[in-house]
Symmetry: C2
């Protein structure tokens, strides 16, 4: 593609680095920005730049925060006997959005993945063990994806806790057929698991 202006080319190049945005979409977005008021682009640029430089991470649970301790950890009305373990901050936000969980969190910052060179030391696992040693909880809920990486990470953490002599209850989020979806169209693995993990009424 031959760009009419170096400035547009730069903007397209940077926008196209974002996930799910190709060169065509990046060009469409750039032309859209040019059609809008100048304040639109300035506000967008400022918001992006300020977010990246200003966001802090909670020193306890590693979630995003505006202060050294995040909103959830500093909220005394939350149940501090429960810790939900998630891989990414996006997972935490998704669970928070359900308004069904009132405990605390711990963000691992990824999953153990030897293929991608991510070992336990790259994740916030040591800080979890330290945190649990300092302030024990009753239950840890593993809310990790049902992938090989998720299972490996869950197994590693379970073993580490057992090795440390912890007697904390470890649970995992329920897997089964999504609410509102048809049995007929559910994939075999999910349907199979949902029969094995059936719940007594």
């Amino acid at each position: 593609m031959n760009y009419p202006s170096k400035l547009i080319e730069d903007a397209v190049k940077e926008l196209a680095k974002l996930p799910g945005i190709g060169k065509k979409t990046a060009l469409r977005l750039s032309l859209h920005l040019l059609k809008q008021d100048a304040s639109f682009s300035q506000n967008l640029a400022q918001a992006i730049s300020q977010m990246r430089s200003g966001v802090q991470y909670c020193t306890t649970c590693h979630a995003i925060a505006d202060k050294p301790i995040c909103k959830v950890c500093s909220n005394t009305s939350r149940d501090n006997s429960l810790v939900c373990l998630v891989a990414e901050i996006g997972d935490l936000l998704a669970i928070e959005n359900t308004a069904q969980y009132r405990g605390l969190y711990h963000v691992l910052g990824g999953l153990i993945s030897p293929i991608n060179g991510i070992g336990p030391s790259e994740l916030n696992i040591l800080s979890l063990l330290k945190r649990l040693a300092e302030s024990p909880v009753e239950e840890i809920i593993l809310a990790l994806p049902a992938t090989m990486e998720g299972d490996t990470t869950a197994y590693y953490i379970t073993r580490k806790l057992q090795d440390a002599g912890s007697t904390v209850r470890i649970s995992t989020i329920a897997r089964g057929i999504a609410v509102g979806s048809e049995l007929e169209y559910t994939d075999e693995v999910t349907l199979g698991r949902s029969i094995i993990s059936r719940v007594v009424l």
Copy 2:
């Protein structure tokens, strides 16, 4: 949605104003930016901000340029007896990308649309008439969309040129079945038009 940080909330709000980006995608993009190096966000913010404040528009054809006269208008090897009329800069870039056209352009900056309150005076029509009066051309190619607004704009410009006593040849881009597509799956209007505008071999 309850955001963990005001800074993220601001970034999501600004990103979600872009066309085709909803709140969920905006959040995903924001979390992606936070996972990358700080320079990634700074470069993106800078590219957006500099593009909007630095881009100029060609004083002849109204296309995007780095200088008062764009690359196409200042290129002496282009055929200056041809002017292709397009609604938006994106259309110009699409035609340039084909590498099939060696003439000049004129960007209208939109289409006549009474419903959206866009009249002829909001578009670069007067400057087109002035440009043609100063340096006459042999042919004007209308590369406008096949919509009511496109047809209205084409009709208005054709009438204006006739009223001004211009004898310039006016043509429009060919409409028909896309190269490589099946007759069977082409919509009736396109297929009908392609039979009426059949080309003698």
